[in-house]
Symmetry: C2
Subunit: 310 residues, 2 copies
């Protein structure tokens, strides 16, 4: 027995990840979409959320794949209409709006799930288990990808509130805050902002950690090989997570342990987790990754970078 | 019987407010200061915090009046040494470091007090009581002061992490978040950043609120009359808080009710509150004002302003 779910915002991430994950799941039935431009063949589409909420009282769960800036109004409308809500990362454009959604969901007894897809990558849990009893000496986050390849024409990402290179970078922070036993906080940051944009296209961040030097090097202009690597030197060896958490080496030796079941890829895992949250009447909202991004924007020093155009 | 307290950072705010407040209090005895440049006549001064912590085990409470960027290391050192800690506003340069201090204090059974001096202004509590049963239609925050008059030569305030005009502006936000019954969140902001500085010298902010238009207009270059005003239009009249929360008018009629006792000025109230927190083994850390400032820096659009020099 599958549960009807509506998907709001039929852009690249919805088509690439959400639609296939819902389609492959026995838990969920993609019963409607809301999008002005996109659609999914065979699925009823609505041009706006209010129409869908009014026309389809049978749909109790709404998944939002919109950019962060407009997302709050959609999430609030869905919660006001008594629907459970699942949010793409980051859960909002501001921290205070995330707190407001948490309060709204709690007051109504509804599930709010702020998903972090990179935390569901195959080797994140093994990396966390390996680090749990080690003393960290140094951690390097290297997150370098080509904005033109992964976000073609998505101007919003370099607008105010779009987070720039921290749109992918928050994935690294979602992994790091999951696998590290000790808390970190931003100690300094350099933000490279193109002269014709508002958000950084590259950044270097240093973090305070009780025992280790922790740094992040983020670049949105990386052509050729793409790098999503987290390297941790400890008192008992070096662990390297690559390909965004999907592969792990310890002292150069590749570790296995990722579930080979394709249903355990990132987005299927998120939707499976949502099934459990709704069934048990719980919410899951960890704002730690977005706190660090907010801290970067509060504390970071901006330097001018050359103009950028797609 | 007064409790020995140490004051760390003997700059303008310490001399103007903390030293007189402690001096006038029967609860507290200013037993030591820590400062490289400043001192208080008749009070033992130490050049660094570690020396004071080692030499004066009798001092169980430390009050920090440092700029936000260096403050974390001092607060963490004092907590590690088993001392209760009181923080000037803002409680840190980042949100994550405030969370870390909260955890450290809780683990050690120590008091951490993140003070917001403007919340202790005389008419803030009456304003909160008046707004409690009204429906808000419009709120305007107008916070305009002369940086050269109140912060002469304090370059750190316009550095990355210094918060610029939000150093005073966070006082307004600390009042607004105290007196408003409903939550707000930043919906948009324009930040005017001098070409030779990192932090904004003026800003306009719009907030989302369930029923009202809420805006803030902040300026750090206001000469002549200084303005620290919050104006609230409701379904039952208009309330105006002026002079940073110390005077209140309702429909143009000035309200009394502020305690005329000079010991009830802002900083004496903060130190009296600290007395109660330490006595009862509690902490008081409300990060809402700094969340809004972080959100402004995350979401705000930056525009260039003319170079600024003191």
């Amino acid at each position: 027995m599958s549960t009807p779910i509506a998907l709001v915002g039929i852009g690249k991430i919805a088509q690439d990840q959400h639609v296939p994950a819902i389609g492959a799941s026995e838990d969920w039935d993609l019963a409607a979409t809301v999008s002005r431009h996109g659609n999914v063949p065979g699925v009823e589409n609505f041009a706006d959320l209010d129409s869908m909420l009014a026309a389809r009282p049978d749909i109790g769960v709404v998944s939002l794949c919109l950019p962060p800036v407009p997302r709050f109004e959609y999430a609030a409308a869905a919660l006001r209409a008594g629907r459970h809500v699942m949010l793409e990362k980051p859960p909002g454009a501001t921290l205070a709006e995330c707190h407001a959604l948490q309060t709204m969901a709690a007051e109504r007894g509804l599930t709010l799930y702020a998903s972090w897809h990179s935390r569901a990558a195959g080797m994140v849990a093994p990396a966390k288990a390996w680090l749990a009893d080690k003393s960290l000496k140094k951690m390097e986050i290297i997150w370098k990808e080509d904005i033109r390849r992964w976000h073609p024409g998505q101007d919003w990402i370099l607008e105010a509130g779009g987070m720039g290179v921290f749109d992918p970078g928050i994935n690294a922070l979602s992994i790091v805050t999951e696998i590290l036993p000790d808390p970190i906080h931003v100690a300094g940051a350099i933000l490279h902002v193109p002269e014709n944009r508002q958000a950084p296209i590259a950044a270097q961040v240093s973090f305070h950690h009780p025992t280790a030097q922790v740094t992040a090097d983020l670049d949105f202009l990386q052509t050729g090989e793409q790098t999503w690597t987290i390297r941790a030197e400890t008192d008992q060896g070096t662990m390297t997570l690559t390909f965004g958490g999907s592969r792990m080496h310890i002292d150069g030796v590749e570790q296995t342990g990722a579930d080979p079941d394709p249903l355990n890829a990132e987005y299927p895992r998120l939707y499976r987790h949502m099934t459990g949250l709704v069934a048990s009447g719980r919410s899951d909202v960890d704002l730690t990754p977005i706190v660090h991004v907010s801290d970067v924007f509060t504390l970071g020093r901006r330097v001018a970078a050359p103009p950028f155009d797609f």
